[in-house]
Amino acid sequence: MIEITKCTKVYSSADGSNEVKALDNIDLTVRDKEFVALLGPSGCGKTTLMKIIAGLIPWNSGDVKINGQALQGPGPDRAVVFQDFALMPWADIKTNVAFGLELQGVAREEREQKARELIKAVGLDGFEDSYPKHLSGGMQQRVGLARALAVNPETLLMDEPFGALDAQTRRLMQEDLLQLHEREPKTVLFVTHGMDEALRLADRIVLMTARPGRIKETIDVPFGRPRPEGFERDDVFSDLSDYLWNTLKAMQVREEQD
């Protein structure tokens, strides 16, 4: 469980003159095995929030607690999937997938075995000895996902993981992620720009505004799990999608007026 209370993050320039409030008094609780989408325009702080939870950057005030304990830094309980895949181009796929385990000191045979299992699970059977440059974008992101799952995390932190993929691949990856989540649910924090993506995947959508980054609204996604057949064609889906779009649009307009 992730509990964030009154979290504020301020970026100031080197001479202290310019201050940007990336996050302003954020209150957010993510329950175990809940799939939460962070949705908002560019600059709303969603990636900053995710990096704070990942333990990569410090925050200025407020509390961030993981399972009741104050957050100390990065950890294998929170695994990250990156938008640009962040694969090591000099290593083959199985080494990339096993990387988290390698850092933990797991023996080579054991971690390669685990890597092979996950490579199969994400549908990349046969590519264990290939190199990232041989793989398409979608395949590379599957490697990123496999790497994250390899360390058996409680939480998956996904930073616009499908943003760099073409529309078709993105849809496929979304469906695969849904299936994965239904098979083995984990706590997921999913940063995205896409309203439909959020509706498709999440249990709850957290809408954020920019400058300063604040939570505007939280929306519970009414479709159950597993997602019923044809839920995307349901009126509820399109109504919610319209609502999200209008809210986001209004945020953009307000920004332009400032």
Binding site: D84, M88, A91, Y131
Partner: protein, 261 residues
Amino acid sequence: MSKGMTPEQKDKIWRRSLRISFFVVFCLLWEWFGQTRGGLLFAPFSDIPPAFVELVTNAEIYEALWLSNQAMLIGFAMAMVVGIPLGLLIGRLVRVERFLNTYLNILLVTPMSAIIPLIIVGVGIGLTSRVLVVFLFSFPIITINTRTGLKNLQTTLIEMGRCFGAGELQLWRKILLPGAMPAMLAGLRLGVGRALSGMIVVELLLVAVGLGKLLLNSMGFFEPEKAYSVVIVIIIEVMIIRAIAERVEQRLTAWKTELGG
């Protein structure tokens, strides 16, 4: 069984013939120029092959090569040992970079030949000054390439390492060094070229030993064909070292895409 040639084969033969014909025309021009306009200091092309053979069948050139390359090897080794760690330090610590950047860029563009007299005045004539010149010729580019290699590493790769629990040492061993390796090797390849330049230049300008001395003496005794032969030997050395450096670079960076990914 088809007797025709593929377009690629035809292309290759065409290109090779073109190259050979250029070379032949070049040699003919050289010969004509030497015979008609030559003089004591310009040798026509036909003088060169026998002079070359005489050069490489005598001990003199090999003694010169050994003497000159001593400075090259020591100076280049020093440039590696100083340049790579320095480049890594600058690439990793922004504050260090800001501090050293200007000096490094100045060193990179300064014509080192102009600095040589200053060095001789300070350190004198001898192996030390030659080593120092070779070092100064080659170390800036090694440092800068190493720094660039480190800085061009995707920031997310470093974030990824930290997310999965890498400490600073693990970051270096498993991400930073392997990632910067192609640029480091490119820097070494460029550096060795500059080291060879430094080796020759200092001998020509101020410390007449080895190959430089051979060159100067040949011109001084009006034996230009011998001088050109020495130059050919130097070019051969450069080409061999270049080929080795490229081979090593390719072997160690087979994973780099041709598109620079």
